[in-house]
């Protein structure tokens, strides 16, 4: 088990180091997120109650769109110099490779989201810190759902020419339940409502989604990579 975790850590550290050197994915994703938030703030009246009501949904749409820029790079960064071959040849399990990459993506996505959140608060005149711990829980669970599915799709589409198009096409439809859960909970929390009996089922669904898709991905990734 420690060997597995060490391999996961090595892959995650490698991806993060490579990304921090180039900043290709994180810069693109962050810029995209901020531009979309800015453009939507012009489209809606930021003081309106309706805007605040839909702002949770808007926030997750921005995260999902901007996130694909990070997720697309995940396995694609292995293509120059045929680095994916070297990883597949190494005596590590597909699960360790997948989990390492997913963790690196998770860190990058969370960084993008945490920078975007205060900007969102300012542009939409939303007090998002009111229920900060609960909001962070939803952010962590929703982001993991996006990460695990996006990383798997990145592996699935790595060898096709239209991968930038295929990744969102394959990811978003499957992600709908998790996105709905994250949106509903975020909207409630931003509106000042707690997570209670009315909306706890969304939280349960989000957790279930994370567990199921993580397990399925860990089992299937070896087949996806090697055939």
């Amino acid at each position: 088990m420690t060997g597995f975790l060490r391999q996961v850590a090595v892959i995650a550290a490698k991806d993060l180091r490579a990304e921090l050197r180039t900043k290709e994915a994180i810069n693109g994703s962050l810029a995209f997120s901020l531009v979309i938030l800015l453009l939507f703030s012009f489209a809606f009246d930021p003081t309106g109650d309706t805007t605040r009501e839909i702002s949770g949904g808007l926030l997750w749409i921005v995260f999902a769109f901007a996130g694909t820029l990070i997720l697309n790079r995940s396995f694609a960064r292995e293509l120059p110099n045929d680095c994916l071959d070297a990883l597949i040849a190494a005596p590590i399990s597909g699960a360790a490779l997948f989990l390492g990459k997913a963790i690196a993506n998770y860190v990058l996505l969370l960084a993008m989201e945490l920078i975007s959140l205060p900007v969102f608060g300012i542009f939409y005149n939303v007090r998002w810190t009111g229920q900060f711990p609960e909001l962070m829980l939803v952010l962590l669970l929703g982001t993991w759902a996006l990460t695990v599915l996006g990383t798997m799709t990145s592996a699935l589409t790595v060898n096709i020419r239209l991968r930038e198009v295929m990744l969102p096409l394959l990811t978003y439809p499957v992600l709908v339940p998790a996105l709905m859960g994250a949106m509903q909970l975020t909207m409630a929390l931003i509106a000042g409502k707690p997570i209670d009996a009315d909306n706890v089922m969304w939280l349960k669904m989000l957790i279930g989604f994370d567990v199921i898709y993580t397990a399925v991905s860990l089992v299937l990734v070896e087949t996806v990579l090697v055939g």
Binding site: G3, R6, Q7, V10, I11, K14, R17, A18, R21, T22, P80, N81, D82, C83, D85, A86, L87, I88, A89, A90, P91, I92, S93, V226, G227
Partner: protein, 232 residues
Amino acid sequence: MSAVAVDGVWKFYGDYPALRDVRLDAAAGACLALIGRNGAGKTTLLRIMAGFSRPGRGEVRICGTAPRDTATRRRIGFLGHGISVYDELSAIENLTLFARLYGLQEPRQAAAEWLERTGLERVANGLVREFSRGMRQRLAVARAFLHNPSVLLLDEPFTALDDRAIAVLQRLLREALAEGKTVVMSTHQLREALELATDVALLNRGRVAFAGPRTAEMVADPGFLYARYGEG
């Protein structure tokens, strides 16, 4: 037991059979040169041997085990068309990364040692994207040999190498063969390959047209096999 055994391997791309009932053996300590025209199936066969793809039919055994077994992967060193090192990382970071993935005891020390053996110790901390082509190729050779594999699978190893990299690779291959390691290499550089080879296999449109020991006749005339068994 053969170090590399290929038994009735077929590989299809769609309906097209890239490999047709390929049967080959390489004993421990042997150097098998896979030769053939472009599209003969050399790379496909090497990739199946390395466990990157699975055969449609038949099987490959490396030291008696399947290529995808974790223990088998520790025994294989693969050098493909790409250099398989990261441009964004330094030379020492690249080799340390792979040393860690292969579970070597002292990853950084092993990395430093191989940088020295391939003449890259002075640029250990330089980013690979700043390296010349020859330096990148030597780093790729170091990566393939780093974990002391007992079976080396090399796809066109001499192609596009500069003189220094060819010398480094030939020296390392001679040392590996002297230590009883097995080498399987595909190549178009017949002269360099036949100098090292103990056995030769000629692939023609996915079939083994010839397989046998290298002879003096082949070394004297590298085109001999093509003329006799190939398409001329």
